[in-house]
Symmetry: C2
Subunit: 476 residues, 2 copies
C-alpha cells in the first residue's frame, strides 16, 4: 500500500492517517448527522510539570505545514475502506479534504503558561476534529523539548550548548525536532547533520574515543585530525590520561599555529563526579593557558543536563561550551507533556467543558502580557474582543486564514525571541528547582462568563458540577 | 534542498544524513589514512535500567531497511560540501556508497539481557562507522518501548492492551514505532491508523467525551453511534454519571440486539483513584450482567501503566481490556536506554576497550540460551566459533550477508516469539518492582580471552587499566 511498508516513514502523503482512529470515527458520525458547523478549539497545557517555571512555544511551523498539505489519497482511502467501518459518504468527503480554517497561535520561541491557548483553531467541526491527534503529537513534543532546552541554556549562563542527542532520541523524527526545538531555545547547534541541512542549524562534531584508539598513539591521532580538519579541530583528550592528553593537544596546537591554523578546542567526555570534572577542567584550562593557547575552548559532555551544568559552574568549572544529549533530547525528568485540545466555542456560542472534569475556558481568546520592572511579567487571558489592558502586548497572532499560512517566522527570529525573553526573565522564573505559581490571571469578562456558565450548568445538573469540581482538583 | 524543508520529514532519500556529524568526520579521516579494513562492532545495552528484569528486541526490520537503502544523493552531497569540512575524495566515496556488510542479530520479540550483542555488524570500517547513530536511534527506542510494553502486557494478565499513545509520543516517527514495538510485545493493537495501515496492526477507537456532549443527551449520542457503527460500538460511559451511563448503554445494547447487532463494550476513562476505578468497574460489570449483556467488555483507560494495571487487578477490577497511552509510549519511568556500539574485532584480531572505561567483550560472539524447569533461563555469551553448550539455543542469527537481507520475520512471528517467551517467564523475572541480576555468564574461552587482553593491556599501561577499572565500576 505504500512505498516503505517495512520502515514506516511518515511523509506528507500519508501523514493524514497519523491520527487516533476515533477522530475518524467521530468525524464520520458528525458528517452523517450534519454536525459540521464552525467550531473553535483551544490547544493548551493544563498545568506546569514539576521543576518547570514556564513553557516555550515550539512546533507551530510543522503544524502549519501539516494543515496546508493534509490530504487523503487513494492508498489511504482504500485502507480505510478495508476496515469496514466508514460510510461511503465519509470516504468521499475525505477524498476532497482540505483544511479551510483559521489558526491563531503564540509564536515559536515565546514563553507561555498553562491554560493559555498555545493554538486556537476555528474550522468546520469535522476539520477541526480530524487534526487533533497530529497537532497534539507535534506541539506536546516540541514545547516539552524547547522548555527543557531553555533550562539547559539558562544553566549554561552564556556558554554554548550543542544538542548531542540523536542516538538516544525517540526514533528518527524526534532527533530532527529536538535539534530544531533546542535551537529555538538557544542551543548553539546540533550534531544532527540532517537537521543542519533541513533547518539551517549549525552542526558540530569532533571525534570519538574509538578514533583516538584507532591510531598507534594519541599524539598520532591528534596530528592526523589536525591535518585533516585544520579549521574545525576539537580534540578529545580523555581517552587515556586527560592531563597528558591536554599536553599532546597543546603540542598539536603549536604545530597548527606554525601552519597558520588554530586549534578550536579540547573536549572531556567522561568523569567520576561533577566535583572531579570541575577540578579537571580547571587543570586543563591552566595547561592550555600556560601553553599560550588562551583561545582554545574547553568543551564538556557526557550525561549532562541543566542540573549538572549548574553544579559544574557552581564548582567553578573552566568551560567554554557543553555537549548535551540524552537527558535533554528525552526531557528525562519530564518525558511527556499533557497538552489537550478542547472545544471552546461553536455556532451556539462559547462552550465550557464542566463534565469531563477538565477545566476549560470558554470562547475565543487573546493573551495579554504586561512586563514590569526587573523582568516581571503578568499575563491576562481575555476574550478576543476585549480591549487590551494598558501597556500590554498580545501573545496570540493569526498564523493562518482560510487554510493558508499568512505569516511564518524564520528559525532565527524564533530563536531571537526566545533569547530576549530568557534574558529578561526574573530570578524566580530562572530557578531550576521550583515550580512557581504561573503569573497568569483571567480578565473580568472571561471570569464572569465562566462563572455564569458554571452557574447555568450547575442549575441544570448539580451532580455534573460536583463531579467537575472534584475532577478539576485532581487534574489541575 | 529538499521537498519538505519546513517540516523536516525523515525519508529513505535523506536518512543517510540522520547521523552525528562526527561519524562523517571520522569516516573522512579514516578514508584519507587508508583505514578501511573490515571491522566488527557490537551494539549492546550496558546494564538493566531500574525496574527492568529483561529487555525485548525490537527495531531490526528498520535497521535492515536502512542498511539496504542507505545512499547519499546530490542534495546531501551539496550540503556536505557546503560545510567546507570534507575532502573531495570522501564526498566521492559517499556518492557511490552502499552498505556491503554482514549483520547478525537477536530476532525481534526475543528477550535478551545486558552485554549480549543485540546486533553485530561486520563491514569495512567506514561503513560500520557511518551507521552508528541511526542504528542506536532506532534500536535504543524500539527496545525501550517493547520492554516497557511487555511489562504492561504481563500486568494485564491475558486481558487486551491497546496503544493509545500517539498524542503524547515524541513526534511522528515515535508514534509509528510505539505502535509497532508494543504490538510485538503483545499489545492487541493501536489507535494509530497509519501504523495500522503500514504494519497491518489491528486498529481500535471509539469516541471522546466531546462526542457524547455534542448530542442533546447521552442516550442520543449512544443511539447515533450504535446506528453508525453497529459492529464496532464501544460506548464511553463516564461523561456524566458512569452508572447511569452504563444503564443508557444497556438500553442501546438491547436495541442493537433487536436489530441483530451486539454492543462490543463500554469504556471508563476517568477516575479519582485506582480503588474507586476498581470498585466502579465491578458495579458497571454487574449492571451489564444483570441486563444479560455478559459479553459486553469493560474497557479501562486514562494514564494507565503496568503499575496501575497491577493495582487494579489486585483490587479485583472487572475489566476486559485496557487502553494505555502516555506512560507506555514515552516509557515514562525509563525514558531512555543507553545502548552503545563498540568495536570488538578488526583485522588485527579481537579488540577490547579498556581505556574508555566502558566494558566491552572482545571478538565475534554467539549467545547460547539454556532453558531450565519452571521458566528458568540462563544465557552464556561465547565466542562465535565455540561449540554450543548442551541443550542450548543460539540467540543470534545472521540477518544480512553482503548488504542483502537474508531473512525477515513477519510482525506476527515476532509477536508470537515474544508471547512464548513471556508465557514461560519465571516469577522472579515477572516481578514489576525489582531489577534482578541478569541470568548471563561468559563462556570460559571468552572469559580467558578477556582476562588475557586485560593483562596484556595492563602490562602496557598500568594507569590505563586502573582508569578503566574505576570507570567500569561507575558505569556498570
Amino acid at each position: 500500500m505504500t512505498n516503505y511498508p517495512r520502515f514506516g516513514f511518515v511523509t506528507p502523503q500519508n501523514m493524514g492517517l497519523l491520527t487516533d482512529l476515533y477522530e475518524l470515527v467521530m468525524a464520520d458520525s458528525y458528517l452523517r448527522h450534519g454536525m459540521n458547523e464552525p467550531a473553535t478549539f483551544d490547544l493548551f497545557i493544563r498545568g506546569l510539570p514539576s521543576n518547570r517555571a514556564f513553557l516555550v512555544s515550539g512546533g507551530l511551523e510543522q503544524v502549519l505545514y501539516y494543515l496546508e498539505h493534509l490530504r487523503f489519497d487513494d492508498a489511504q482511502l482504500d485502507y480505510l475502506a478495508s476496515l469496514g467501518l466508514f460510510s461511503d459518504g465519509f470516504l468521499n468527503y475525505l477524498r476532497g479534504f482540505r483544511f479551510t480554517g483559521d489558526v491563531w497561535a503564540i509564536p515559536e520561541g515565546e514563553l507561555f503558561f498553562p491554560l493559555e491557548p498555545l493554538l486556537e483553531i476555528t474550522a468546520p467541526r469535522i476539520e477541526a476534529q480530524l487534526i487533533e491527534t497530529f497537532l497534539l503529537n507535534t506541539l506536546n513534543f516540541q514545547v516539552m523539548i524547547a522548555s527543557k532546552a531553555a533550562r539547559v541554556v539558562l544553566a549554561a549562563a552564556g556558554r554554548g550548548v550543542v544538542d548531542f542527542s540523536p542516538r538516544r532520541d525517540h526514533a528518527a523524527d524526534a532527533a530532527m525536532k529536538v535539534a530544531r526545538a533546542s535551537y529555538i531555545a538557544g542551543c548553539t547547534g546540533t550534531s544532527n547533520v540532517l537537521a543542519g541541512m533541513h533547518y539551517g542549524i549549525p552542526v558540530y562534531g569532533t571525534m570519538a574515543h574509538s578514533y583516538v584508539m584507532s591510531f598507534a598513539d594519541e599524539l598520532s591521532a591528534f596530528r592526523a585530525f589536525a591535518r585533516d580538519f585544520p579549521h574545525n579541530a576539537v580534540l578529545l583528550i580523555d581517552t587515556y590520561d586527560t592531563l597528558q592528553g591536554t599536553r599532546n593537544a597543546m603540542a598539536v596546537a603549536q604545530e597548527m599555529a606554525s601552519r597558520g591554523h588554530r586549534l578550536r578546542g579540547v573536549r572531556i567526555d567522561s568523569y567520576e563526579s561533577i566535583d572531579e570534572l570541575a577540578a579537571l577542567s580547571r587543570r586543563v584550562r591552566a595547561i592550555c593557558d600556560e601553553a599560550g593557547q588562551t583561545e582554545v575552548q574547553v568543551f564538556l559532555s557526557g550525561d549532562l543536563d541543566e542540573y549538572r551544568i549548574e553544579e559544574l559552574l557552581e564548582r567553578r568549572a573552566a568551560v567554554g561550551a557543553f555537549g548535551v544529549g540524552t537527558r535533554m533530547g528525552t526531557s528525562e525528568d519530564v518525558p511527556n507533556l499533557g497538552g489537550v485540545y478542547k472545544l471552546v466555542e461553536d455556532s451556539s456560542g462559547p462552550k465550557i467543558k464542566l463534565s469531563t472534569g477538565k477545566a476549560t475556558l470558554p470562547g475565543r481568546k487573546q493573551v495579554w502580557r504586561v512586563r514590569g520592572n526587573g523582568g516581571a511579567m503578568h499575563d491576562t487571558i481575555a476574550l478576543r474582543e476585549e480591549p487590551p489592558p494598558p501597556d500590554a502586548t498580545a501573545l496570540l497572532a493569526q498564523a493562518m486564514a482560510g487554510g493558508r499560512t499568512i505569516t511564518q517566522d524564520s528559525l532565527e527570529a524564533m530563536r531571537g525571541r526566545c533569547h530576549d525573553r530568557l534574558a529578561g526573565l526574573r530570578p524566580a522564573l530562572r530557578d531550576l528547582h521550583t515550580t512557581p505559581q504561573p503569573p497568569v490571571g483571567l480578565s473580568d469578562r472571561l471570569q464572569d462568563l465562566r462563572d455564569q456558565m458554571y452557574r447555568t450548568n450547575a442549575g441544570q445538573d448539580a451532580e455534573k458540577r460536583e463531579r467537575a469540581k472534584k475532577k478539576t482538583r485532581r487534574r489541575l
